[in-house]
Symmetry: C2
DNA sequence: ACCAAGTAGTTAGCTTCCTAATTATCTTGC
DNA sequence: GCAAGATAATTAGGAAGCTAACTACTTGGT
């Protein structure tokens, strides 16, 4: 069951082995393969998500912002959004620009801080989330539908650990 | 051992549960969480990889192209590169432009096909790969170093199945 | 042999994200 | 109480990916 069987998986164990050998390194080809596949999978899933959100006139970033806003009561400062979504403040500015243009959020100056502002989910923004919910969650569910409940738990755990490890890629 | 313990995982099970409830849907919050975390993890890993390759003056796409070229004997047509790397031909044109500007690849018209051309790994390109190999593979290894050999095999299997499932996101 | 349709590569224009620099405001330390 | 430094948001500019449209060549049907 754990047999490979795929056939079209982009980087193969063979390629990984060949590369490691080629440079005379003692790295574990399996570990390298996992890392490379993960990077590749990240890009593919990201693109699939982008296409998914595009069906609703949103991007991954815009949807995440909208959903985060609603989950937080409909109001949040751009800085907090940036921190919570783990993107830069400049990116949040861009996402808000697009969402504001479509009337899904509104900006209001902050009452407490003269420098700051607050992003507010509009009725139209909330409606958009409501409209897409059934299909959105349905598709998300079918995305992982091939995994059993236990497998999902395992995957969640492994994924978290690998994401933590990915910090090592960029770190120093 | 499978305990959460993370604390900073971006979307939580609570959030997923709240959202599903909020819309009165019967989706499984755990499945939704897995999907959402995967999308989020994909973006994070992608950015980490981008930062990693930037240390060597490359991007993820450029590195993948260079590595694929070397693995294939140093010569390949842009179309095949696009197919093998799973990006569009236009993207390959852009990657080749950048790599050619830095002298890491060269372009030559195809002998067999008057429309086609061939990308060739230059000595300098091969050298670049050689220079970065020890650190590159070392970092890749440490990225998944938190996983045992068995866990890596499981992860590889689950990852492949979930990537296949991600097609369902965009499909239809 | 020739015209139609397909394919290779590029170009143009879009989006997302980034970093760095700018402007305005807040907060501290003296 | 005011100058110096931090912080909020924006702007400007860059890279990677996409699709669609264009050019040049090849191939296949009649």
């Amino acid at each position: 069951m754990t047999k490979d069987g795929a056939g079209d998986e982009t980087p193969t164990l063979e390629q990984a082995r060949r590369q490691v050998e080629h440079y005379g390194l003692d790295a574990d080809p399996q570990a390298v393969l996992v890392a490379v596949r993960l990077i590749s999978a990240g890009a593919r899933v990201g693109r699939a998500a982008e296409a998914h959100f595009a069906r609703f006139g949103l991007s991954t970033g815009r949807y995440r912002l909208l959903a985060d806003l609603e989950d937080h009561g409909g109001e949040k400062s751009p800085s907090r959004l940036a921190a919570d979504l783990e993107v830069s403040r400049a990116t949040v500015t861009g996402l808000l620009d697009g969402l504001e243009r479509e009337g899904l959020i509104a900006r209001r100056p902050s009452a407490e801080d003269g420098r700051g502002s607050v992003a507010i989910l509009t009725a139209r923004g909330a409606q958009r989330l409501r409209d897409m919910a059934p299909e959105h969650f349905g598709r998300l569910e079918s995305m992982v539908g091939g995994l059993s409940v236990e497998e999902r738990a395992v995957f969640l755990d492994l994924l978290a650990r690998v994401v933590r490890g990915s910090a090592a890629l960029a770190a120093d």
